[in-house]
């Protein structure tokens, strides 16, 4: 009987790794907690920096899943055990699944924006998150306030829950800056009369074409970038949002009203990752994400023989990097199985 792999987490990394391992002739069981594959990708409309529809990426990933991949949805894992050679994943209903290798691709959760209490998410009607805005894009809806009006002014708050000691997350979530710029441009495309202000600490446009997008936002669309972290937001009588921020380039406090405030929520380790790490005896890094055995050379392996990691379970990453990492994990797993 051929060797098999269980992959836990049916998002981008899980789907791509499953496709690559299956393409090399191994049986894969792909476990997903929700009722569909794709993870966060299914909630996004267009992707930075190319503005490709997320559905195209999902279609590509789905097409890779051949008949060697068994997809199991709505899965709850009760326990994971390992003997000398095999992993046993025990499901909530008692079913036991056996494999020769195990890959964790349980990804990330979005930081709960309500934890930044001073920004008023979940309290003020017109404070939303980047994910909420993306849902509006996905529904092809006009961008509107809670009062069903087109916003005249929209504010974006960068680094919500990232690079923030008070929130307990010192790390950068990497993709929020460019997501904010992309979303700001998309609002301008849909509703050109909207004024847009992005409040940032510094813009980390690290990857290819990100800087181009940032320039386009300023030069073509007149989106304004104000360097300063929000101290608080409050609700005006008309339900617009009063924001207070220090403009650190002019060294002056700034108070302005926006009709809609978008919080760019960062990444946090997913709650499932934490549970599974406990079951498997994996120690997270100081940021809470899981850590491979070597950060340079063995980037998908763990201290547990046969247990691998891929994607944002190891920390914030772009989709491109997640796909590449999933392929890398697939190669490492095949090499391990053929030992």
């Amino acid at each position: 009987m051929g060797k098999s792999v269980i992959i836990i987490g049916g998002g981008i990394a899980g789907m791509e790794a499953a496709a690559r391992i299956a393409a090399m002739g191994k049986e894969v069981i792909l476990l997903e907690k929700s009722d569909q594959l794709g993870g966060h990708l299914r909630k996004w409309d267009r992707l930075f920096p190319t503005r490709r529809k997320s559905d195209e990426v999902f279609e590509y990933l789905s097409n890779g899943l051949n008949d060697k991949v068994t997809i199991r949805l709505n899965i709850k894992i009760n326990k994971i055990k390992k003997d000398d050679r095999h992993f046993f994943v025990i499901l909530e209903d008692g079913e036991s699944l056996k494999s020769d290798a195990l890959l964790l691709t349980t990804g990330y959760d979005l930081f709960e924006a309500g934890k930044k209490e001073e920004y008023g998410y979940g309290i003020y009607d017109n404070v939303i998150t980047s994910a909420d805005l993306e849902a509006m894009f996905r529904n092809s809806a006009e961008i509107k306030t809670s009062g069903n009006q087109k916003p005249r002014r929209v504010g974006f708050v960068h680094c919500v829950g990232s690079r923030d000691e008070k929130a307990g997350h010192l790390y950068c979530s990497k993709v929020c800056c460019v997501t904010g710029v992309k979303q700001a441009i998309e609002i301008k495309e849909k509703q050109p009369d909207t004024e847009i202000f992005c409040f940032y600490m510094d813009l980390r446009m690290f990857d290819r074409y990100f800087e181009d997008l940032y320039y386009e936002a300023q030069q073509k669309w007149g989106i304004q970038f104000i360097r300063g972290r929000l101290s608080e937001s409050c609700e005006n009588p008309d339900h617009s949002i009063l924001v207070k921020v220090e403009d650190t380039l002019t060294g002056r406090p700034l108070k302005m009203t926006v009709d809609l405030l978008v919080l760019l929520s960062g990444f946090v380790p997913s709650s499932d990752t934490n549970k599974l790490a406990d079951m498997l005896g994996l120690l997270p890094g100081s940021d809470g994400f899981l850590t491979p055995v070597d950060e340079h050379f063995r980037t998908n392996e763990t201290q547990v023989d046969g247990l691998f990691l891929a994607g944002t379970v190891k920390g914030p990453a772009t989709i491109e990097n997640t796909i590449t990492d999933a392929r890398s994990a697939a190669i490492s797993i095949i090499k391990y199985l053929e030992k």
Binding site: G114, Y124, C234, P237
Partner: protein
Amino acid sequence: MISEGKKRIWNEYQKEIADDHYFYVRSCVRQNFFPGSEKTFLKIMQHELGKDVYENPSHTTCTGIGYHSDIVPFETAMTVIARQFALMTEAGYENLVTSCITSFGLYSEVLETWHHFPELLQKIRMHLKNATGREFNIPKNLAHASDLIYKFRNNIAAKSTNRLINKQTGKPLKAVEHIGCHYSKMFPSKGVGGAEYPYVLIGMIEEWGGEVIDYPERRHCCGFGFRQYLVMANRGYSIACSRKKFESMEPYKPDLILTNCPGCPMFFDRWQYAISEMEGKTYGENDHGIPVLTYEELSGLILGYDPWDLGLQVHQVAVEPLLDKIGVQYNPLEKYQGIDHKDLGKPNMPSILKFY
């Protein structure tokens, strides 16, 4: 405004408040600012609620005003506070309740510091022993007096003769609540409801029939800010802060401002007068100001106490419009009479702000 969101946060910030037997420490300034408040607190706790509240005349300032004005070093403040703990310990009490928000904040800061730096606690024990021969236990429970009124707000409601309802319209009175900065902004978990959406005063207002207004500058400082006022050259900043808040709350037409700090009611009350003289602007109805009450004064009104026994005649903003809305019985002729019915003399009338 999504009230469920606020309730979620309030649930996350519930603190333990002891049920009885408190060692009470007064504020340095409140008996001058609003002289009936502390007396009313003791009356409510001891006589209405039957609680054991003890105060020792030997207790001193906590040094909070000096500490926050950078003239008292932290070790000195800690040693003075250790002495208050010694008085509490000697009197056989374990629960400490402060009248002053700044004291509450500083006591919390000291306890938190000792928790993280136990060697500093040992050092302060030694300082106190050397200076006074006293020893002390750390309080089991630290509360601000507004926490206790919050805790027993239902009992007060059960004994109430007045409600925060407009007698003429039958509608809830609209209240602005303002907690002092030192209540929970430094240690959100030490305050009922946390720092961003504090509940301690809201709980009282809602329980007693009123409606709370949230307004854009709710979190802003009252204007006291210690050095904003204590340094005379900065007082323009103090009044500008208060004015910013009045301008922000004005469109909601509040019937009263409720406070739990020694400084906040003082500045809300006095600066309304100053602004009326400087700019001819008043923030209440018909050239009145917005009445400003301490939580003890409001509790007293709810319980039907005579407003002049509560000390409401020393407010710069006339409270009569609020008393009339609630339906409080009062004799205007007794406003400026002392307890012995001697005439205390009337203040000069402001030029703009309506006063009686």
